[in-house]
């Protein structure tokens, strides 16, 4: 750490900072293009979104003719019924998708960590949902669920388990769980890959020692394997949570947020506000709030990563 003394220190340290930058000008020159690009593609859009969130943008006016409304967009959001609806949908969507994807992925990783015939083939098959594009997956599942000629409905009717095909994505009560199933189907392979990678790092000698000490399979998992996977689990869960909070393709393509807003989550609602209704101001206010929420996820993510790094260094 640089210790500033005397006159220079009293002037707040700006000059020494400049001097320091100048002294390392060659280093800074290398990162300058990257900083410039980041300012253009990250900082400016953030600034502009924050600015827009204080304006009204009626559909009959150009964006440059926007009207300043102060914090009205924020108060309008918080006092609107749809806000609570999309927030509750988003929480259910994020928590259920993240938790179940993680548990399922972890279970598959544990199963695939053992050596058995056909393991490689099974691994490849389980990864398929993750490598299929989300757009293609959405259309495939839309047809699987289709209330009039979807395969699930047809099978249920054929087996006599239902009089008529169930109403998966055309009913307000079933649409969100139905979409969550698709999302989990798409995401659990990601968790599985992460956890499989983590399992490779669990020292064999520790497991063997635990076995010698008389620990059963559950005890070996709980006291040896799982603690080793804590950081990779945290990172996986955070990555899944961020991806789910930001998820757009599956709900938008399969239902467009419907029926009756039952599958609108924050991102689809923001998209509709901005591009469908041109309420750029309100959409921006939503985006600012979303940004703050995701920043929290980001904070925990960085903390988890730092924890990993510290652990690596100490090892």
């Amino acid at each position: 750490m640089t210790i500033l003394t005397g006159k220079t220190g009293a002037r707040g340290g700006f000059r020494p900072l400049l001097r320091k930058i100048w002294a390392h000008r060659a280093d800074y020159a290398y990162v300058l293009p990257a900083i410039a690009v980041m300012l253009i593609v990250i900082a400016y859009p953030i600034y502009y979104t924050v600015e827009l969130s204080f304006f009204n943008t009626p559909p009959g006016l150009q964006l440059r003719d926007k009207i300043f409304v102060g914090v009205d967009n924020y108060t309008a959001i918080l006092s609107s019924g749809i806000f609570w609806k999309v927030t509750s949908n988003t929480l259910i969507w994020t928590l259920a998708s993240t938790f179940i994807s993680f548990v399922l992925g972890f279970a598959c990783a544990l199963a695939l960590h053992r050596d058995f015939v056909g393991r490689g083939v099974l691994r490849a098959i389980l990864i398929i949902p993750w490598v299929i594009s989300a757009v293609a997956a959405s259309y495939i599942w839309k047809w699987i669920y289709h209330s009039d000629f979807g395969i699930i409905g047809a099978v249920l009717v054929e087996l006599g388990l239902a009089d008529r095909p169930p109403n998966f994505i055309d009913s307000v009560s079933t649409v969100l769980p139905s979409l969550i199933v698709v999302n989990i189907w798409r995401e659990f392979p990601f968790a599985m890959i992460m956890m499989m990678a983590g399992l490779q790092t669990v020292p064999d000698q520790l497991l063997r020692a635990a076995k010698v000490d008389g620990a059963n399979a559950w005890q070996r998992f709980w006291h040896v394997t799982f603690p080793h996977l804590r950081n990779v689990s945290t990172v996986t869960i955070l990555l899944l949570a961020v991806a789910n909070f930001n998820s757009f393709i599956i709900p938008w393509i399969m239902t467009g947020g419907g029926p009756s807003n039952a599958s609108h989550i924050w991102i689809t609602h923001i998209y509709e506000l901005a591009f469908g209704r041109q309420r750029w101001g309100v959409a921006s206010a939503y985006s600012v709030l979303l940004f703050l929420i995701l920043m929290m996820f980001g904070y925990f993510y960085v903390r988890a990563l730092s924890g990993n790094e510290r652990k690596d260094h100490s090892a």
Binding site: L61, S147, G257, G258
Partner: protein, 493 residues
């Protein structure tokens, strides 16, 4: 086969005449190239093939054929629900344009109906729009009111305003200035499966006369055969929904505003009127009470109804004449017993006029698309090659291409298209065209307001979904929609 009786034709002719007159502004009446007061399938047949047009020579007067330039152009292209025939004509058009104007470097981009508006709006915000754009009818006033479009009238591309339907010209006019040229005019028809009608105990050759009949027939078909009666479409953010619901709403005497009247003012909101609620109630009765329409109606577009209809699982729907060609395309792709089954459905396909409301009112959306030229400041590179833009607009809106590009589906924007040999050929080869030309006089344009896209693509489908899912009662859904339109018109957040 189309079933239109002589008495029906006379009655239709009389009503058509009155409605044509109401659709038209007085000065246009005398100067139109075709006599709209005589409008009927017979009249259309009598004028088809009576005049030759040389498109290249006509457009050369607007932009010389050796003109050297560059044009960026976006358009609403063909999509999965369109017939192969239309696909071919789109391909032919761009090949012909490049051949006719070999020195114009054309960069064209096709977008689907539901994506075009969103993408265009985004491009405009980044001053990255194309020089010219062909937009659905809903878009014109929105972009004109915001000042994105250059004034452009048919005279600028070698035609006269009277060469186009007055109703279509309303959709490209904002604040008294014209901002585009209509390319095609859509009116849909009512389609049913005669075999299903027969098996359900209905007259196989008679379309339901009223919307109340549609509700009744739909229930009867469902109760007797266990299949969907009417192809209700209520997906949000999809153009298909208002095109099918608004005819029902207007027929019952309702409206968003007073757009169904001869001289709309768009001042009074009518979505919560008893008539509008009656129309919504009819949809509710079919979906919730009778369960006689596809369960998937809330996520369906018309493209989802087509396979249902072809599979003999749907009795009635609203669509273009092009659905006949779509069925033929789908049948060609089918195999084994599905192919024969599809052929049976095609043989039993019938087209008729869209039903009336309880007071005999008949209505259909007067739809279509228009071509516009952008102002340079919103275009990528900041320049618009106007002669190049006018060249493509001249060609697309010519009697020849406005007819060919609407060949299987709708009506040519340029009224002279009805006089071409291609129109004659089309009448001989495309079934059911006369039904949709008969529907033209009943056409009602969507309100020519910048707020119309949101009203039609979001608020109206939301109203339907709120009622059909039980999230709101019919009354609440209609009142909520009216309130949202009021807020929207007031510039609320």
């Amino acid at each position: 086969m189309t079933r239109i009786t002589l008495g029906g034709a006379v009655l239709r002719g009389t009503v058509s005449t009155a409605l044509v007159a109401s659709l038209m502004s007085a000065p246009a009446l005398g100067a139109a190239p075709v006599d709209l007061s005589k409008w009927s399938p017979e009249y259309v047949r009598s004028i088809a093939g009576t005049q030759d047009f040389d498109t290249a020579a006509d457009c050369a007067k607007v932009t010389p054929l050796d003109y050297k330039g560059r044009l960026t152009f976006w358009y609403q292209g063909v999509f999965e629900g369109d017939p192969d025939l239309l696909r071919q004509y789109y391909k032919d058009f761009f090949e012909t344009f490049r051949k006719t104007y070999p020195n114009i470097q054309l960069e064209d981009q096709a977008l689907t109906y539901n994506d075009l508006l969103d993408k265009f709006r985004t491009a405009l915000l980044g001053n990255a729009a194309p020089m010219a754009v062909r937009l659905q009818i809903l878009g014109g006033t929105e972009f004109a009111s915001k000042g994105y479009l250059q004034p452009l009238k048919p005279e600028d591309v070698g035609y006269s305003t009277e060469d186009f339907w007055p109703g279509a010209m309303k959709a490209v006019t904002w604040d008294g200035v014209t901002y585009g040229v209509p390319t095609n005019n859509e009116t849909m028809a009512f389609i049913w499966n005669a075999d299903i009608f027969k098996r359900a105990g209905l007259d196989p050759d008679k379309a339901p006369a009223t919307w109340d009949d549609v509700v009744k027939y739909s229930k009867q078909i469902h109760d007797k055969l266990g299949i969907a009666g009417y192809g209700l479409v209520a997906r949000k953010n999809a153009g298909n929904t208002p095109y099918r619901f608004m005819p029902q709403l207007w027929a019952y005497g309702g409206g968003v505003f007073d757009e169904a009247t001869a001289n709309p003012t768009y001042k009074q909101i009518e979505l919560d009127s008893p008539q509008s609620k009656a129309a919504l109630q009819a949809s509710y009765d079919m979906y919730v009470r009778d369960k006689s329409v596809p369960v998937s109606a809330l996520t369906n577009q018309q493209a989802d109804n087509q396979p249902l209809f072809l599979a003999g699982q749907l009795g009635m729907m609203i669509s273009h004449p092009s659905d006949y060609n779509v069925m033929l395309d789908l049948q060609n792709k089918a195999t084994g017993s599905d192919k024969d089954k599809a052929q049976t459905v095609i043989d039993n396909m019938r087209y008729g006029l869209i039903p009336t409301g309880p007071d005999g009112k008949r209505a259909v959306v007067f739809g279509g698309s228009n071509i516009h030229i952008l102002k340079p400041e919103y275009v990528e590179g900041g320049k618009v090659d106007e002669p190049a833009a006018k060249a493509i607009i001249c060609m697309w809106t010519s009697p020849e291409w406005s007819l060919k590009m609407a060949y299987a589906g709708s009506n040519p924007g340029n009224l002279n298209g009805f006089k071409t040999k291609w129109m004659k050929e089309r009448l001989d080869s495309i079934k059911f065209l006369d039904v949709t030309t008969s529907m033209l006089p009943y056409g009602i344009p969507f309100p020519a307001l910048p707020q119309s896209p949101e009203i039609m693509n979001i608020i109206v489908p939301d109203m339907l979904q709120n009622a059909l899912t039980g999230a709101m009662t019919v009354d609440q859904a209609a009142d909520d929609a009216a309130k949202r339109v009021k807020e929207l018109m007031g510039g609320g957040l």
